[in-house]
Assembly symmetry: D2
Homo-oligomer: 277 residues x 4
């Protein structure tokens, strides 16, 4: 896969425990299927090798907490041998976003790939949600994403290029991401920019489910509804992101990739239940 | 990209002028972007080489017209060095479909990848459409696709594997393809099968538009609505199909990939029009 | 509500046990809420009276089985005092459809309202579905609906009017109904015709569930996913149909009314499960 | 139509020029079709009379500008003979929202119907949008709607009733409204509450288009895409809202009514263009 990227800018308040850029570079050697042993032996060596070289020459990552950022930057560097710049940025603050984008361009040039992974989760009965909790989420997830996209977008219009990927795991953000991808693809496609959204479905990450779902009931129900019969992995998301950012996907613009089968109709699932019995 | 396929079965009444399997294997050397020269030089050689080797060892193609099938089979063989079997099959006839699948398995074993590309186009004011014209389309597009998928599916349940791609260009078939992908992913996912749909958007093929749209007005309007500002190419579809069939997409099941930005909301487009003025 | 209809044409192979036209006229006096007693007392008398008078002056019904048709016709007549014509018609036969439409116009004039309720159900693991079973369903549901709509549509183009409602309960037909409603609204809207689809969700009818779901497990699961916490009633569908056919909805064209909350996102439902615990 | 409402609470920053509650009560006597004369004569008198009596006994309206609110309150009172309370409220301020809801319940009791019509429009190329402009919109449209819905919802959980209608005209708000309707219907349906969304499509209002579209080009293009061949009217929206709030729609919960045919597929429209030629 050809990423062709010179500069890669990743944004995410939860980089280390979520979809961290380091995974993005190492997917070739990681397990990417349930049946690892069988596949490894069949894996075509030239391709496997090529994957290691598909390397972004410079990577800039931004997030709110400096210590987390630094640890992530070192991890990526040690795994890829690439320089990684870390910039502290609270995406809720437009001025801080503007400074971050200036610094990004100063240290690394205009980015080829921009990954939006800003997230704020809440799984709570709505009636217990306070106005402040709601506002914090929309500030991070909606306003933050908009501020970064608008600021970098304005710079990339001049550069006439740029590829944006937005990961959206929760409902409200997904809706906004869809809107942004479609609107901006329609508006800024003429400048050579592409905007795509990945709706990941439930991914296996350390800690996430144990905290939100201690008994595992929720996880079991989710798995029951996933055609592949298992949670996804971070590497699988990275694979899709790599494909969408590559030149192979140069015509895919304004698309929403629903990785997970989300039973759009009550049909599929019901048929499945019946098929079981 | 790892196709990992031992046997590849492609079905389509319009193989030579549509998405022919030969393209499927040769995308690595073909133009895959608007800006060819620039990209070729940057193209990473090991990957380019790998692409040539990602080869299905056996290919079986089926369609209604034997002469067209034979010409296509020879073309694929000469380009890839692979054996290609051609089986005559009218997908509207369940018995013929059953025989085709038997022969397929006899000559090449259970297929790893099944491509459904059966198509029947009509662009006609509905009031001029006869019951017979309507019936021919549903017989090919709906019943044909269902017969092939059910018959191969039943065989692959025993083999516990299989990847189906369905190309759906027109409205009615797309709806059915979505239904099938979601239902079958939910039902047969447990057997290790995957079902994905590609909704291509307008693709540049020889003849297609000159026949349906002699003045080019329709094409101009379409291009106006595509964020990338141009029609897609067959290679771009092949890229996406290759990705979806590969192990990199092993968790993507029941998905509909809308390659083309189809203005889900009247918004995107309108904003674009206003942005122009 | 003003139906304003002079002639009403209803088509459905399962009129008596499904959404029969007789229900269509009597919704005003039927239970239309879970909390009947409370509502009846509050019910505004002039409106209640008006409902009884909103009467189609002539009703033509068509279906395959003559004995069932006759019984239904008598039932409607006795309840409404209106004339009801019954015409035997197998919608799979284009010639029979043409004759039915001719007779309809001869006995009653051009219809103001056309209800498509042709249905063929299958709840079966796909792997046990035979090509013939599949073909019977598409013949009734797709081809039948298309033949009737095309034939009446051609006649109504001359009359410059007409309102079509299509009930679509199962997945494949729904997809087709959506396609038809949108395409035909776009094409024939200029002739003053309207095309709307109702996707009912699970409705309580005698026999339906006892046959398909003897243990009631499926019904319980469905109810769990319906925000109102209960199955719908035939009268509730009739209410919506009456609204969509009335002049109050004169601008609603090409719409799909999803009566039932079908959990478009895995969110809603999951949140609900969590809210329970 | 039975609104059955004792208290009606309408919220909207642009009540007078947008969908004002006064229209909500008077739709029965207003033009509700393109062909007025013909219809009036056919209009069934008892129903017409009933419509005038379907009256909310108390109406509370809230918005940011007190002078506009007062003028609207007087207009509604003079047309309906009902008491109208006006409460000044900036929906961006959670404390002000809490006070408004307290006052609403104090003066009129728990509302039966809640109309969310808060809006903030922008039609601007995205590259010219400032962070502040973006934030103002999300503050009004997202946070404001959320604050009001959460606050009233918490009160209505105790009252075990309530019907919410959300009008969403622009893209981002529509996405959020969909999310809210589906999530809250799933969560709060058990308390007897219903949440539905109306996506109106282009409606003819004084001033709106003359300001945003002085040359009328945009309006012409929109009309071209509407099956009925004309813009909608405020009364038509009121009709749909009245239906959804009535007991006739007691099972419709979590639904999104797309009044306007928004060409989900590029099909409908294209077919139409071809049909023209």
């Amino acid at each position: 896969m050809t990423l062709q990227a010179r500069v890669f800018f990743a944004l995410g308040s939860r980089l280390p425990c979520g979809l961290a850029p380091r995974r993005f570079f190492s997917y070739g050697t990681k397990i990417y299927s349930t049946n690892t042993e069988a596949l490894q032996s069949k894996f075509f060596p030239p391709l496997q090798k090529a994957m290691h070289h598909l390397i972004v020459t410079q990577c800039v990552i931004a997030s709110r907490k400096m210590d987390v950022l630094k640890a992530t930057a070192e991890q990526i560097s040690s795994q890829t041998g690439n320089k990684v710049h870390a910039i502290q940025c609270d995406v809720r603050d437009p001025d801080m976003v503007q400074n971050t984008v200036s610094e990004l361009i100063k240290v690394a040039g205009h980015p080829n790939i921009v990954i939006n992974n800003a997230a704020g989760n809440f799984i709570s009965p709505t009636e217990r949600l306070s106005p402040n909790a709601w506002k914090t989420i929309t500030d991070i997830v909606l306003n933050g994403t908009a501020f970064v996209t608008l600021e970098i977008g304005k710079q990339l219009i001049k550069a006439q290029k740029g590829m944006f990927i937005c990961f959206s795991r929760i409902y409200l953000t997904l809706m906004c991401a869809r809107f942004c991808a479609k609107s901006l693809a329609a508006e800024w496609g003429k400048y050579g920019m592409r905007f795509n959204v990945i709706q990941p479905g439930p991914i296996k990450t350390k800690g996430a489910f144990s905290r939100l779902d201690p008994t595992g009931t929720f996880e079991k129900e989710m798995i029951d509804r996933i055609p592949c019969g298992r949670l996804g992995t971070i590497e699988e998301l990275a694979n899709l992101a790599a494909f969408l950012c590559s030149d192979y996907a140069s015509w895919i613009n304004g698309a929403v990739s629903i990785v997970y089968f989300s039973s759009l109709f009550f049909s599929g699932e019901d048929v499945r239940n019946i098929a079981k019995s």
